[in-house]
């Protein structure tokens, strides 16, 4: 009974992983590939295009961690102040919704909302600001990535924090109220400390996926006018490998990303185990 599962993993996971030896070879359509050692890596690291891609990946990932990470925590704290009832249910159901939409759909929604006649520009008009074409603006496109990711995930990501808050004993709050603590003080001295271990775990997990920088999102929100600002490792691999057919070269870029990702995940796993007693698995 174990066999179907194992066969599946061997064919669809192990074989393509072993196949990544292609990074050290030249691809041949007919006949055996030939070994070329580190050739592709040497080209990779001396190519300004690849260095730019690497920079973009790091910048976009960092922006997302800095600006998005705190939002679900704040959201959870706010939702926690809403009494159980229809309003809380409404807030939660609505804020979780974007998580279930594909990035193709979200791109469609945002492209329309950010268009020169879209909702954002109407709000800008109200404040007497000039209309902007966000999707083709090199200055703004990374912020489009940050805000659309926030729109999609902040609600859903607050779930883990809400779960942590719900485990806090109500007696603590009762005692605090008797001592005259107001809402903000209760947040500061009871709720936040109780969430700390969840916050650390989620933060470390996020670091583990740093090199991804959100492929699906960038893939759907990217266009020719802004590509220099948002081209990340995976979109680069896609373009060089699958569109241009430079399989070996693109696999080298993939392998580089995979190894960094592996180091990050393993180190964050052990860090997390050390600080919170919980690992990635």
């Amino acid at each position: 009974m174990l066999l179907p599962g194992i066969i599946f993993f061997v064919i669809f996971h192990v074989i393509p992983i072993i196949g990544m030896k292609l990074a050290f070879q030249d691809y041949r359509i007919i006949g055996e590939n030939i070994w070329v050692g580190l050739k592709h890596f040497k080209i990779l690291f001396s190519s300004p295009a690849f260095i730019d891609v690497l920079k973009n990946t790091v910048i976009i990932s960092s922006m997302k961690i800095i600006f998005i990470f705190p939002i679900p925590i704040i959201l959870a704290l706010m939702v926690n102040e809403v009494r159980n009832g229809p309003y809380r249910k409404y807030v939660q159901s609505v804020s979780y919704l974007p998580h279930f939409l594909s990035w193709v759909v979200i791109a469609g929604i945002w492209i329309s909302f950010l268009s020169p006649n879209g909702g954002i520009n109407i709000i800008r008009e109200f404040f007497q600001l000039p209309s902007l074409d966000f999707m083709t603006s090199k200055e703004h496109i990374r912020w489009v990535l940050v805000f659309s990711e926030m729109w999609r995930s902040a609600g859903w990501d607050s779930i883990l924090y809400i779960a942590a808050i719900m485990k806090i004993s109500p007696q603590l709050y009762e005692a605090a109220k008797l001592d005259g603590a107001n809402t903000l003080q209760q947040m500061r001295y009871i709720t936040l400390p109780a969430m700390a271990s969840t916050v650390i775990t989620v933060f470390i997990l996020n670091l583990g996926f740093f090199m991804n920088a959100g492929f699906d999102q960038v893939f759907n929100l990217m266009n020719d006018s802004v590509i220099s600002k948002v081209d990340i490792l995976d979109t680069y691999v896609y373009r060089i490998g699958l569109l241009n057919g430079q399989y070996a070269y693109a696999t080298a870029a993939s392998l580089f990303k995979g190894v960094i990702g592996l180091v990050l995940i393993l180190s964050t796993h052990f860090l997390s185990k050390r600080f919170t007693g919980k690992g990635v698995w």
């Binding site: 009974m1 174990l2 179907p4 599962g5 194992i6 599946f8 993993f9 669809f12 996971h13 393509p16 992983i17 196949g19 990544m20 292609l22 959201l75 706010m78 809403v82 309003y87 807030v91 804020s95 979780y96 919704l97 974007p98 279930f100 939409l101 594909s102 990035w103 193709v104 759909v105 791109a107 469609g108 929604i109 492209i111 329309s112 909302f113 268009s115 006649n117 909702g119 109407i122 609600g155 779930i159 883990l160 942590a164 107001n182 809402t183 903000l184 989620v202 893939f219 691999v237 490998g241 699958l242 399989y247 693109a250 696999t251 993939s254 392998l255 990702g261 592996l262 995940i265 698995w281």
Partner: protein, 291 residues
Amino acid sequence: MKRLSWTRSIIYFVLFIITLAVLIPVLNLVAMSLSDPSRVKELTGLGVIPKGFSFINYEIILSNPLILKSIANSVFITIVGTFINLFLTSLMAYVLARTNFVGKKVVLLFLIAIMVFEPSMITEYLLMKDLNLLNTYASLILYKAINVYYLFILMRFFQEIPESLIEAARIDGAGHFRIFTSIVLPLSKPALATLTLFYGVYHWNEYFRATIYITDPNKWPLQVVLRQFVVKQDNTTMLSGMDMSAEMLASLDFGSLQASTIIIAIIPLLLLYPLILKYFTKGTMDGGVKD
């Protein structure tokens, strides 16, 4: 009635604004798709009430053979794919959760290794090519047929089934397969429902593998067609295969047509949303960060 404190009122208000920020972009597209094409220009980017009322955009979209075919493809891939996901995942979860065998530790370690190291999209593509699976639904169904993370959720659930029930069945002479189908699976309906929705939503929303594995437009799932239309702004493909007079073409509003395609892609999720909320929330809280 207790009066709301100042802090509370501000929080209620801010949360209301947040929900509007989520809803208005979506409702604006709904309004656009339902507006009369001759009046849709009056609709502002923040408007949520259709100008005039007409189903014409949906009629046009749903009379496009390419889109109709893609909806059928998506439904097929989602149903068959999810079924195969569930079968393979639960079979493996049962063996790992309820039996002891030599090398079980190795298998578990192997699964964790798979979780932390993903193959390159290039070698995955070359594999599908070597297996002659390009341009087949099988490539989409077999890719990630077992999600390790979901496998672990199901394993944990199977482990909680009382040993006494299984022992009783074994005494009655039931083998592993019998125990699996007539005891473990029926007792695991909530977990299986969770996984059905996890896998189902994944298949419905999947577009990337379909973009690279499927080059025949007649085999595209809805998300790929939607991407062609909305992200790549390819209107020619969208209107090909349709009989339309020049007059009719001139009266069309492409923004509204795109909007209605987006809404069609969201509708199944909205219909299942109460179920999705219930099971996803539970599944994520149980399986996510475990205490």
